[in-house]
Subunit: 142 residues, 2 copies
DNA sequence: GATTTGCTTGACGTATACGTCAAGTGAGTG
DNA sequence: CACTCACTTGACGTATACGTCAAGCAAATC
C-alpha cells in the first residue's frame, strides 16, 4: 500500500463545501433542488465528491456571468452527453455553438462597457491633472 | 432657415421607444420608477429625448451583462458627476476603477467559459470526424 | 438521560424584475 | 355624443433566487 501525499479531500459535507466556496448551505440545497447538483447520500446526509465541487464551481461562475439557474443547468448538461451516440453529439455541437454565440455577444457588451469606463478615467484624470497644475501654480505664488 | 436632412426623431413616446428597442412599456416605467430613466412630461404623458434613449440603451446593456438594476443605476450615476468639483471627481475615479475591476473579473470568467466550450467543440468534432471516417469506410465496403 | 452539534425537510418570507389588469383621462374621428 | 386609441396610475400576480425558521433526527459527549 503506497503512502500518497496529503491531498484535497475527496468527500465534503454540505457545510464544508459551503464554507470553502463562500456560499450558503441553503443555496446549495436550492441548486440541488433545481437539478444543478446531484450529491450522494449517507443515509439522509448529503455527501459531495470532487466532481460535485467542480460542478458547483461551474454553477457559481455561470451565476457570476449573469445566467439564470436554468441556463446554467443547460450549460452543465453539455458535459453530460453520451459520446457514443452520434445524434447526441450533433445536438450537443449545436447547443455549444449557441452558447458560444451568447457568450461572445456578452463579451462585446463587456468590451464596450470597459472602453467607456476607460474613457471616463482618461477624462477625469485629465481634469484632475489640469486642476492640480493650477493648484501648483498657486502654491509657488505664495 | 436651412433645410436639414431627415434625422432620427428627437422625441419619443413610450410606445415608440419600447417598440424600437424591443422592450415593454411596463419595463420602461419600471426603470423610471427605479430612477434609471427621467423622461420629461407633456402633461401626464412621458416624453423621451435622445439622451433618454441613449440612457435606456445603457440600461439594457447593463442588464444583458447580468447587473441588477441598482448596479446599473450606479453605473449611470458615473456619468452625472459635476466636473467642477474636485472631490466628486476623485470619488468618481474610485468608483469607475471599482467597476472596471468588476467587469474585468467578469471578463476572466467569460474567457474561461469560452475556452471550455471551444474545447468541447474540438472534442465533439474530433469524435464526429472519427465516426464519419468509420462510416465512410463501411460505404466503400458495399 | 440531557445537552450539543450538525444535518435533514418543509414552509413561509423577502427581494428583484417585471406582467397583467382595471380604472381613468385626453385627443381625435364620425 | 359615442367610439377608438394611446396614454396614465395603482394594485395584484408571477417567476426567480434564495433567507429564515421550526421541527425532527443522529451522533457524540458529559
Amino acid at each position: 500500500m503506497e503512502h500518497s501525499p496529503p491531498a484535497a479531500p475527496e468527500l465534503y459535507t454540505i457545510a464544508q463545501l459551503a464554507d470553502e466556496l463562500g456560499v450558503t448551505q441553503r443555496a446549495i440545497r436550492f441548486y440541488e433542488a433545481k437539478g444543478l447538483l446531484k450529491p450522494q447520500r449517507l443515509g439522509t446526509q448529503r455527501v459531495f465528491g470532487r466532481r460535485d465541487r467542480a460542478r458547483l464551481l461551474l454553477v457559481l461562475r455561470g451565476i457570476r456571468l449573469g445566467f439564470s439557474l436554468a441556463e446554467v443547468r443547460e450549460y452543465l448538461d453539455l458535459y453530460d452527453a453520451d459520446p457514443t451516440k452520434r445524434e447526441q453529439m450533433r445536438l450537443l455541437l449545436a447547443k455549444v455553438q449557441a452558447r458560444i454565440a451568447a457568450l461572445e455577444a456578452q463579451q462585446r457588451d463587456l468590451r464596450q462597457a470597459l472602453c467607456e469606463l476607460h474613457d471616463i478615467v482618461a477624462q477625469v484624470e485629465g481634469a484632475l491633472d489640469h486642476t492640480r497644475q493650477t493648484t501648483g501654480a498657486k502654491r509657488r505664488a505664495k
